[in-house]
C-alpha cells in the first residue's frame, strides 16, 4: 500500500497508538493539518512549528521517542487493523461524533467505534461498579440494565467483569435495546476475554467505543481515561457497588465535575463492596434502590405497574423466608444463619441447602447470598 492510498484515518490511528500520546497532544497535532502532515510532524520528518515545537522543547526526549514510535506504528498497518476489526475512526469534525463530548474540556481527539453512535441520541444512563461484585450487586445491575432498556434508555457501561457486564446483560435481555460500551483498550481484543460474546452483542445492537486504536492492550492507566468519556456521555451515572477506593469512584468524580447526576445503590455497612457507594451517598449522591428512582432522576414519568418478569420459584415460608430476607440485606455465613434463626447447625444446613436447590440462595466461599429474579442475567 503506498502512502497516497492510505486514508487519513490510518494516520490518525497510527498517531493514537504512540506512547505518550494524549488527547490534548493529538488534538494539537491534528489542528489545521491533515493527518498525513500531522504524522510526518510527530515522526520528526518535518521541522516543527509552535505549539509542537514548544512541546518538543519542553519534553526533551519526546521527539526522539515519537520518532521510534513512528517506526513501530505504520499508518498502513494501523488502517489495516481498523478495517479488519470493523472499526470506524470518528473525529470531532465527523457528524457521528457524540455531541455531548464536543464541549467537554477533555474531549477525545478521536474515537474508535464499532456499531452505531447515533444510538446516543436517546436518554442515557451509565451503570458502573466493581469487578468483584457480590451476587446481589450483579443482580441489581442486571435489573437496572433491563428495566432502563425497557423504558427506552440507553445503558452505558464499561464492559468490565462484575457490575458492568451484568448491566449490559440486563440491557441486552430487552429486545430492541441499544447498549453502549466504553472500553479502555483496542476494539479488536475483547477484555476480559470471557466477555468476547458480550462485546460482539453490544457492538451489534448499540455501539462499542474506545479512545485507542485496535491493537492497544488494556493497560491500567487507560481505565481512568476511559471513565471520563463514560461520565461525559451520560445524563445520570449509577454506581452499583464500589470498594473504598474503587475505579467507579473516579467515574463518579468525573461525572460530578460535569454536572452529571450521580446515584448510588445503598449497601450494608458490613460489605466491603459497598464501602465506596455508601461514601458517595454520604457525600450527597442520590440513592438508587429501584429503577424508578433513576427514571425519576431522568425526568421520565414511569410508574409502571407490576414487575415485568414472572418468578417461577416456590416461595419460601416461615424461617426459610426469614433467611432469604436476611441474606438480601447482606451475605450471611452458616454461623450467622444459626445465630439469627436459633436453628441447630444441621437444621440450618438443611434449610440453606433447600433454598439453594430452589434457587433462592447461592453459596460462595461459605457465604450465602440471596438471588433475585435477575440473577440469571448477572
Amino acid at each position: 500500500m503506498t502512502g497516497a492510498s492510505i486514508p487519513g484515518a490510518g494516520y490518525v490511528a497510527a498517531l493514537a497508538s504512540f506512547d505518550r500520546m494524549t488527547a490534548t497532544r493529538l488534538r494539537a497535532l491534528l489542528r489545521d493539518r491533515d493527518p498525513q502532515e500531522a504524522y510526518a510532524l510527530a515522526a520528526g520528518r518535518v521541522q516543527p512549528s509552535d505549539p509542537i515545537a514548544t512541546l518538543f522543547a519542553e519534553y526533551a526526549d519526546l521527539a526522539q521517542r515519537w520518532r521510534t514510535e513512528a517506526r513501530r506504528h505504520r499508518p498502513a498497518d494501523a488502517w489495516r487493523r481498523c478495517v479488519e476489526a470493523g472499526v470506524d475512526v470518528v473525529r470531532p469534525d465527523d457528524a457521528r461524533f457524540p455531541a455531548q463530548l464536543l464541549g467537554d474540556p477533555a474531549c477525545p481527539a478521536v474515537l474508535f467505534v464499532r456499531g452505531d453512535l447515533d444510538v446516543l441520541d436517546a436518554r442515557r444512563v451509565g451503570i458502573v461498579g466493581t469487578r468483584n461484585a457480590t451476587q446481589q450487586g450483579r443482580a441489581t445491575a442486571a435489573r437496572f440494565g433491563a428495566e432502563l432498556a425497557e423504558a427506552g434508555v440507553v445503558v452505558v457501561s464499561g464492559l468490565a467483569r462484575g457490575v458492568d457486564g451484568a448491566a449490559h446483560r440486563g440491557a441486552l435481555s430487552v429486545d430492541g435495546s441499544h447498549p453502549v460500551g466504553i472500553v479502555g483498550n483496542g476494539l479488536d481484543q475483547p477484555y476480559p476475554r470471557q466477555h468476547a460474546e458480550l462485546w460482539a452483542r453490544v457492538a451489534a445492537r448499540g455501539a462499542l467505543v474506545s479512545e485507542w486504536p485496535p491493537g492497544t492492550p488494556p493497560d491500567a492507566f487507560r481505565f481512568p481515561l476511559r471513565n471520563r468519556i463514560l461520565a461525559a456521555l451520560v445524563e445520570v451515572l449509577v454506581v452499583v457497588e464500589s470498594r473504598e477506593r474503587g475505579g467507579s469512584l473516579i467515574t463518579a468524580k468525573e461525572a460530578g465535575e460535569r454536572s452529571v447526576d450521580v446515584m448510588a445503590v445503598p449497601g450494608s455497612v458490613h460489605s466491603p463492596a459497598s464501602a465506596g457507594t455508601n461514601r458517595l451517598l454520604s457525600d450527597g449522591a442520590a440513592p438508587a434502590t429501584e429503577t424508578a428512582d433513576i427514571l425519576v432522576a431522568l425526568g421520565l414519568d414511569t410508574r409502571r405497574a407490576g414487575r415485568t418478569r414472572f418468578d417461577p420459584r416456590p416461595a419460601p415460608r416461615g424461617t426459610a423466608a426469614a433467611i432469604v430476607e436476611s441474606c438480601r440485606s447482606q451475605p450471611l455465613t452458616l454461623d450467622a444463619v444459626v445465630d439469627s434463626t436459633g436453628l441447630s447447625v444441621a437444621d440450618a444446613a438443611m434449610a440453606v441447602a433447600r433454598l439453594e436447590r430452589d434457587g433462592w440462595l447461592r453459596s460462595t466461599g461459605g457465604w450465602f447470598e440471596a438471588i433475585d429474579e435477575w440473577a440469571d442475567l448477572a
Binding site: T130, N132, A133, T134, Q135, G137, E241, R243, H270, S271, P272, A273, S274, Q330, P331, T333, L334, D335, A336, V338, D339, V345, A346, D347, A348, A349, M350, V352, A353, R357, S363, T364, G365, G366, W367, E369
Partner: protein
C-alpha cells in the same frame, strides 16, 4: 580376655537388642569393630578410648576386636559406647567380667568420661526384656517408662568400676527435673460463635475425619485446631507406649510420668523441610512431625505455603498410617497414624465476605493449585471459617465446654467401633452400604447433587462417612442416616476451590 555385653540400638522408633562381644588380645595395637556398624558406631572407638583414659582407667594398648551381633543387622548411633567401654574394661580385667555381663548398658560417652543421653532410650530399653539396664541420668524417665528390669542411673564411667568390683553400691542419682507441664487451658468453652467450625471439630474427633479449615487471617483457625486434641479420648496403654516410643526416638523430652497419655498435638511451620516433616536425616533416621503426631493431631497451618515436595510426603502416611523412610541400605517404617487438620486462606489476599477479594484470577488459580487433588481428597471435612461477628465476641458465654463435647465424641467412637470395628473415616464402599444406610430424603439429596455434577463419586463416599459420624453423635444414634445429617455433611465439605472447577 573376652566379654559379651548386652546393649541395644534404635531402628526408626523400634529398639533391637545387641550383643557387644569384645576380645582384647595379642597382636598389633588396633581397634576394629565388625558386624555392620555404620559410621556413627565406628566413631565410638575414639570416644571410648578418650573416655577410658580421661576416667584415669587403664586402656589396653593391644589389639581390641569388637563384634556386634546379630551380624546381619545394621547398627547406627552412639548408644553402644557405654557397652563397648564396659566390654573393654571387663575383657582386660579392670572390672569383674561376671558382674559386668549381668547388666545391659545403653548410653553415649563423652570424651571426658561422662555419660550422655541419646534419643530412643525408651524403645531400646524396652527391647531388653527384663534385664537390668544402666543408662545416663538424663535418660532416666525414658528408661523407667519402658524397663521391666531395674534401671541404674550413672553420671560418669568411673562410677561403674567401683560398683562392678563390689566396692560400692549403685549410686543414687536424682533423675532430672521433668519438663514444665504444658498447661492446656485451651477449652472449647472459650470459643465464641463459630458454630460450623466447632461442629466440624467434634465430627473430626468422633469419626477420625481429616479436616481442612478455609478462612481469612484472624478467623481463629489455629485457636480452633488447638482444641481438637482435648476432644479425643486419652490413649490406651498400647497407643500410649507407641506414642512414647516415637517421642523418645525423636529425642523429645517425655512428660513427668514418662508415658504420653494424651493425644499429641504437633503444629509444624510451613517452612518445615521434608525430612523434618516425614522423618529421615543423615546419621540415624529420626521420626518426623507426622510420627510425633502419631495417635494425635497434626496441624498444618497455611498448608498451601508448604513446599509441594513436603506435601507429597503426606500421601503415603495418609493412605497407610505409617511412613517408610528409605536411605541407602536401610528401610525404616515409622508409625504415622494422625488426624490431619490443615488451615489455609481462601485466596492470597485473605478474602472475606463476597466482594472483599482483591485477587486476580491468575493468582487465585496458582494459589489453589498448590494443593493437589489427591491431597484435598483426603479431607472428609472442609469447612469455611469466618471471622466471628462482633455480637459473638461480646456474648458473655462461650459455647459448650470441651468436656461436654468430648463425652459425645467418646460415645460416638464407641458406637462406631462396636458396630464395624473401626472409626467411620475408615469405612469403604461395601461397608458403607452396610453400616451407613440413608433415608429416602438423604438419598434424593445426594442423587440430585451427583446428577447436577456438584458432587464427585469420591465426594459421595466421603459425605456418607461424615454423615454416619454425625448420626453417631446424635444421642439416639439412629441406624439409618437422616437427611439433615447429609445436608450438614455436604455443607462441611465446601468446594472452596470451585474457581478450579473442582467439586465437592
Amino acid at each position: 580376655m573376652f566379654a559379651s555385653i548386652s546393649s541395644a540400638v534404635l531402628h526408626g522408633a523400634v529398639g533391637h537388642p545387641i550383643r557387644v562381644e569384645v576380645h582384647v588380645g595379642k597382636g598389633l595395637p588396633g581397634f576394629t569393630i565388625s558386624g555392620l556398624p555404620d559410621e556413627s558406631v565406628r566413631e565410638s572407638r575414639d570416644r571410648v578410648r578418650a573416655a577410658i583414659l580421661s576416667s584415669a582407667l587403664p586402656y589396653p594398648d593391644i589389639r581390641i576386636t569388637v563384634n556386634l551381633a546379630p551380624s546381619d543387622q545394621r547398627k547406627t548411633g552412639s548408644g553402644l559406647d557405654l557397652a563397648i567401654a564396659v566390654g573393654i574394661l571387663a575383657a582386660s580385667g579392670v572390672v569383674d567380667p561376671a558382674a559386668a555381663q549381668a547388666v545391659a548398658y545403653v548410653g553415649e560417652l563423652g570424651l571426658d568420661g561422662s555419660l550422655r543421653a541419646i534419643p530412643g532410650v525408651a524403645p531400646m530399653v524396652g527391647s531388653l526384656g527384663d534385664e537390668d539396664v544402666v543408662v545416663p541420668v538424663d535418660s532416666a524417665v525414658e528408661a523407667h517408662v519402658a524397663a521391666r528390669g531395674t534401671v541404674r542411673l550413672l553420671q560418669r564411667l568411673d562410677e561403674l568400676v567401683a560398683v562392678l568390683n563390689a566396692e560400692q553400691p549403685w549410686p543414687e542419682h536424682e533423675p532430672p527435673a521433668p519438663p514444665p507441664e504444658v498447661t492446656t487451658s485451651a477449652d472449647l468453652a472459650d470459643v465464641h460463635g463459630q458454630h460450623a467450625a466447632r461442629r466440624s471439630l467434634e465430627i473430626a474427633a468422633a469419626g477420625g475425619h481429616h479436616l481442612l479449615m478455609v478462612g481469612p487471617p484472624g478467623a481463629g483457625k489455629t485457636m480452633l485446631a488447638s482444641r481438637l486434641p482435648g476432644l479425643l479420648p486419652a490413649l490406651d496403654r498400647e497407643r500410649a507406649l507407641e506414642a512414647t516410643m516415637v517421642h523418645s526416638a525423636a529425642g523429645v523430652r517425655l512428660p513427668a510420668g514418662g508415658l504420653i497419655t494424651r493425644p499429641p498435638y504437633r503444629a509444624p511451620h510451613h517452612t518445615t523441610s521434608a525430612v523434618a516433616l516425614v522423618g529421615g536425616g543423615s546419621g540415624s533416621i529420626r521420626p518426623g512431625e507426622i510420627s510425633l503426631a502419631h495417635c494425635g493431631v497434626l496441624f498444618m497451618d497455611e498448608i498451601a505455603e508448604f513446599a509441594p515436595k513436603v506435601l507429597d510426603g503426606l500421601r503415603q502416611p495418609l493412605e497407610n498410617r505409617h511412613i517408610t523412610v528409605s536411605r541407602s541400605k536401610i528401610n525404616v517404617v515409622l508409625p504415622a497414624d494422625f488426624l490431619l487438620v490443615a488451615a489455609m486462606n481462601p485466596c492470597p489476599c485473605g478474602g472475606g465476605a463476597p466482594g472483599a477479594c482483591r485477587c486476580n484470577a491468575a493468582n487465585l488459580h496458582r494459589y489453589l493449585r498448590r494443593l493437589s487433588g489427591p491431597l484435598l481428597d483426603r479431607f472428609d471435612l472442609r469447612v469455611d471459617v469466618h471471622r466471628p461477628g462482633v455480637d459473638d465476641l461480646l456474648a458473655s458465654t462461650g459455647g459448650e465446654a470441651t468436656a461436654v463435647v468430648a463425652e459425645r465424641v467418646r460415645l460416638a467412637r464407641e458406637a462406631a467401633v462396636g458396630r464395624q470395628g473401626c472409626l467411620n473415616s475408615r469405612l469403604d464402599g461395601s461397608r458403607l452400604d452396610r453400616f451407613a444406610p440413608l433415608d429416602t430424603g438423604g438419598r434424593a439429596v445426594l442423587r440430585d447433587r451427583l446428577e447436577r455434577g456438584r458432587l464427585s463419586a469420591r465426594g459421595y463416599h466421603r459425605v456418607r462417612r461424615v454423615a454416619r459420624t454425625i448420626a453417631d453423635l446424635d444421642p439416639r444414634q439412629p441406624d439409618v442416616i437422616p437427611e439433615r445429617a447429609i445436608h450438614l455433611a455436604l455443607e462441611l465439605r465446601a468446594p472452596f476451590d470451585e474457581a478450579l472447577g473442582r467439586v465437592a
